[in-house]
Amino acid sequence: MNELVADKPQGLLKFRSRPELIMAGLGMLLFATILLAICSGAVSVTPGQVASILFSKLGINLPWEYEMRDELVVMSLRLPRILLGLLVGATLALSGAALQGLFRNPLADPALVGVSSGAALGAVSFIVAGGALLGVVPDGIQPFLLPLAAFGGGLIVAMLVYRIGVVDGQTQVATMLLAGIAINSICTALIGMFIFNSDDQQLRDLTFWTMGSLARNTWAIFFPVLPFLLIPCIGLPFLARAMNAYVLGENEAGHLGFNVEQLKKLTIILTSMAIGSAVAVSGIIAFVGLVVPHLARLLLGSDHRRLLPSSILLGSTLILVADIISRTAVVPAELPIGVVTSCIGGPFFLWLLINKRTLRGE
């Protein structure tokens, strides 16, 4: 190997020497996407009008005029939807990056580990069998029942996978991954059984959970899940240095002074909290957790101190773009967002696999 040539950073690697520039670029891209998401849809609104609407809430009047209808669309429909989409995309991508690190496996993904389908199973069983509960529970709590069922399903799977994976007090990551795959297929089978036994209206609702959608998001859903989505986004990046060392191996991370058992536990708890609540509000949105971390690695390298924040930014952007497409492609109907992310994500991932050797770790 010619060492003189090897010294020159190749391709994308040379941009990594300016990570702060790329990070700023990603931030601006996200901001532009948010703006586009607020403005586009069945009713179009200009950026000026959006600014007027937002600032009028603070008592400041800006020169751009708008109608009541515009305010209603922006404040009650688009804003909660976009904010939730933002957080869901961020937590899915972040959890994907963290799980790939934890399992030391580039294929790990919230859906593969079974937490996503556990959450979806919780929701689906509530839609089909939970009708009886609606009469008993007070009206105020009813909107929370479905998200709670999803969250509970995700949490049960995460705890089960974790229980199976811990042998003699030692967490065995390979066993956990395999247990996740098995539980995933059990959940998928059960969901299939519910779908087989459901009526037309239920079927439409079920599609929402299995293919994902941001359409149901309102402020009433936003605030209860906010802490569950925010805590992982804040907590996981603190584990970045330990995750870096963990890439060298479990023992090696221990030699470098990190508490490996604690790292594994915290990662499991935080990611299942993130994924459970993300599925609870938006169903299973495929591919974000798998593709975004790989994309972030190509842009900024594998160092988790950059990988985790950049996954947050990229994940939010990708979800918002997919949501814009799902809202505007077949107006007045909506495509499930999971269909859009898979349509973009699948081929894109294949292209990456074929063209980028760095992705395969070569």
Partner: protein, 281 residues
Amino acid sequence: MLSAVDLSFQINNKQLLQDASLDVKPGEVTVILGPNGAGKSTFMKLLCGDLLSSSGFITLDGNSTQSLDRRSMAQRRAMMPQSSNVVFPFSVYEIVMMGRSPYVSGSETLHDQRIVKTAMQCTGVSGLAARNYNTLSGGEQQRVQLARVLTQIWSDGNGVDEAARYLLLDEPVASMDLAHQHETLRIAKQFAQRNAGVLVILHDINLAAMYADRIAIFQSGKIVRQGKPNDVFDQELISKVFGIEVLLSEHPTLGCPLMVSLPRPISDSTNQIDNYQAGVA
């Protein structure tokens, strides 16, 4: 001083190590020799904390290592694994920088960067800094890992008033060419002279004879002999432990012991391949 006192380890009723006692002294290179399955790696895994001993204990300057916290332990004891598989594309520079983890909170300082650069020059991997670790050959990866463990316990001073540090190397030269084998052990020896205790598992008896200050010979989970190279090298003992005839001589220029192995004849009555073919015929 890093000391193992009467260390035993058993798993599934199998005794892998029995009453092994050994001192790793600052300023010295201690080499562990022994056939496969003799308990060398088990012993090192106990010393670096990967395994917990069934009985016996490990002390650092007289204190039990279990009473010390992880981070300060990591600043004084580094372990280089036999091989290290990194799943994601990290650059060589990033891998070596991970050695500074026990000192860093947040991001690395110029001081850390200087140590990493020096350690990389030291092991001859400066030219590979921007390369993806996974694209390197086995020997190059080992040199990168050596640079990483050196940065982990690097000391800037002359080491006189500092606490001694300990470097554990599990077959560090296994995938290296001859020149790099010598280079690695020369680095280990130099490092030892800066108030560090180095413990190395080797398979090459002659390399051990050239670089070791002290040698411990393992057989079936026990330390059967330890001492200075001239004292432990005994033709009969080596033949017995390794199960092969050897001739002991003297290195023509260095004067240290030189071991030549004497293979069994290619065809003899205990040759399984010949017996099998005879059976088939």
